[in-house]
């Protein structure tokens, strides 16, 4: 069966899985931003913690997803089977680029500019929101962009824990050696990754233009 025929026959299921996939990526990236950006900012205030925190985020990256799911299944609230566990895993994987780029973006602000702000009597909060964040935002956004694109790919493993998404077609296709099925999952995921990359890239360029 060709891919086009497959989509024609299963349009509703495909749309449902695309929706699940988008939900997994959007929610997990959102949570990773809410945790990762403040954490990255905090690291610029407590540089001694930079090594341990980024090291831990690095270690998380290397844990295979099936092993991570295995650890999570028995845990209350964040575990079990289904979307929650998948989202926890995706957040864990998305944290590193966001924390690191937030830290690098802010730490990279010219010290002279920061000193000028302080000289004008800015509080730490004003310095952060009026000077450091606007100047470091491009780098921060680049981290979010990487995290989002990687999440679109990684979200296919959600199908291993009963959370659905486009990985369902990939797992089914691998179990049955059906290339059409594998493509049916992989192709929309690839397009989604390209679209996310393009949109966030556009946002990045507009920001760069405004900053000029």
């Amino acid at each position: 069966m060709s891919l086009v025929a497959f989509y024609g026959r299963n349009a509703q299921e495909v749309l449902g899985l695309v929706g699940q996939h988008l939900y997994l990526v959007a929610l997990s990236t959102g949570i990773a931003i809410v945790i990762g950006v403040p954490l990255g900012i905090w690291l610029t205030r407590r540089p001694a913690w930079r090594g341990p925190v980024l090291g831990l985020a690095n270690v998380f990256q290397t844990v295979p997803s099936l092993a991570l799911f295995g650890f999570l299944i028995p845990l209350p609230f964040i575990g079990g089977i289904g979307a929650t566990t998948a989202i926890v895993a995706l957040v864990v994987y998305a944290l590193l680029p966001i924390v690191r780029n937030t830290y690098v973006g802010i730490a990279g602000v010219d010290p002279a500019v920061r000193e000028a702000g302080r000289g004008m009597g800015m509080t730490d909060w004003q310095l952060l929101t009026l000077v450091e964040l606007p100047l470091g935002f491009g780098v921060l956004l680049a981290g979010v962009r990487v995290a989002t694109v990687v999440s679109v790919g990684t979200a296919t493993i959600a199908a291993a824990i009963g959370a659905g998404g486009l990985g369902v077609y990939i797992f089914r296709g691998v179990a049955m050696v059906n290339d059409t099925l594998i493509l049916a999952g992989a192709l929309p995921a690839a397009l989604m990754a390209l679209a996310a990359d393009g949109l966030l890239g556009l946002a990045e360029r507009r920001l760069a233009w405004r900053a000029r």
């Binding site: 295995g70 028995p74 079990g80 824990i161 369902v168 089914r172 049955m176």
Partner: protein, 300 residues
């Protein structure tokens, strides 16, 4: 394979180390080497290792191991493409999943047709079976089985409407998988079964996240996790006799393989297989050591 090699030769300008590496990576039998494959679960790895060591003990052939390949269909694709020379397969799996026949319960008929059709369609030979059956096992927690007096699969229909099921993708898709089982036993679960990774279903069952899963009857985890296999009293699952499947071409080139593997025939009982699986899965003993000890004891 010949065509692939020619294609590789055409790229020899990459430099000879790369060329040598590429030829090694394609892994088909030539010269004095056989490639033994196995599927992606412990029992298949154990059988693959036993077969590999037996070949190493009894012939002068070099054995290359390609274990833990992604399931029935991947192994079948690999052996028909000549990427591997032999791997352990199950008669019922070949009959329904590869040959696409409707499952039947008669072991002799399954064996006869599988042997004939494999040779004719794929030029693959079925050697003598190892001596045990590994059928699908529908598993529940022991406590649940005792509380609801569940012994057979036909007892399950009464509790199913309150229970949740979790199955691997292969069991959900296969012709002898979930759909037919649900029909034969009139099973209607509280929700459609959760599709998940096979290995994770055991953990999900043990941790109470689902109530029914489909495993294999020789799994070492069954006893370790205090699970019970329900008896297939309406004979839904076809027989699954384990045996080595070998490329006919490889057997022609190396007839000594037949003699070496014939001495494994009928040597592994279901209880023995469960014990080996438990040692590997639950006690995390090394598969290579387990295979060596088993061979020393049973095939002196």
């Amino acid at each position: 394979m010949a065509r692939a090699l020619t294609a590789l030769r055409g790229r020899a300008r990459w430099g000879s180390p790369w060329f040598a590496a590429a030829v090694l990576a394609t892994g088909c039998a030539h010269g004095d080497r056989v490639v033994v494959g196995s599927k992606n679960f412990t029992e298949s790895d154990l059988l693959g290792e036993i077969v590999a060591q037996q070949i190493e003990r009894r012939t002068a052939l070099r054995v290359e191991r390609r274990f833990h390949l992604g399931g029935t269909f991947v192994c079948h694709a690999a052996i028909t493409a000549g990427q591997i020379d032999l791997y352990p397969e199950y008669s019922g799996t070949a009959y329904t999943a590869v040959l696409q026949h409707v499952a039947i319960a008669d072991p002799a008929q399954v064996r006869r047709r599988v042997i004939a059709e494999y040779l004719e369609r794929f030029q693959l030979r079925w050697l003598g079976p190892f001596g045990f059956d590994n059928t699908f096992a529908i598993l529940v927690r022991r406590a649940d089985a005792e509380r609801h007096a569940l012994r057979r699969l036909s007892d399950l229909a009464a509790v199913a409407p309150h229970w949740r099921a979790g199955f691997g993708y292969e069991f959900l898709e296969r012709a002898d998988g979930f759909a037919g089982l649900a029909e034969r036993y009139g099973l209607h679960f509280a929700a459609p079964p959760t599709a998940m990774d096979l290995g994770l279903t055991y953990r999900a069952l043990a941790d109470g996240r689902v109530d029914v899963i489909a495993g294999n009857s020789t799994d070492g985890q069954i006893a370790a996790l205090e699970l019970v296999a329900l008896e297939d009293d309406r004979h839904y699952f076809p027989p699954y006799e384990a045996a080595p499947v070998l490329r006919a071409q490889t057997l022609l080139a190396h007839p000594e393989l037949g003699a070496a593997l014939a001495s494994l025939e009928g040597k592994i009982t279901a209880a023995e297989m469960r014990r080996l699986n438990a040692l590997a899965d639950v006690e995390h003993r090394d598969i290579v050591d387990l295979a060596r000890a088993w061979l020393r004891e049973h095939v002196p």
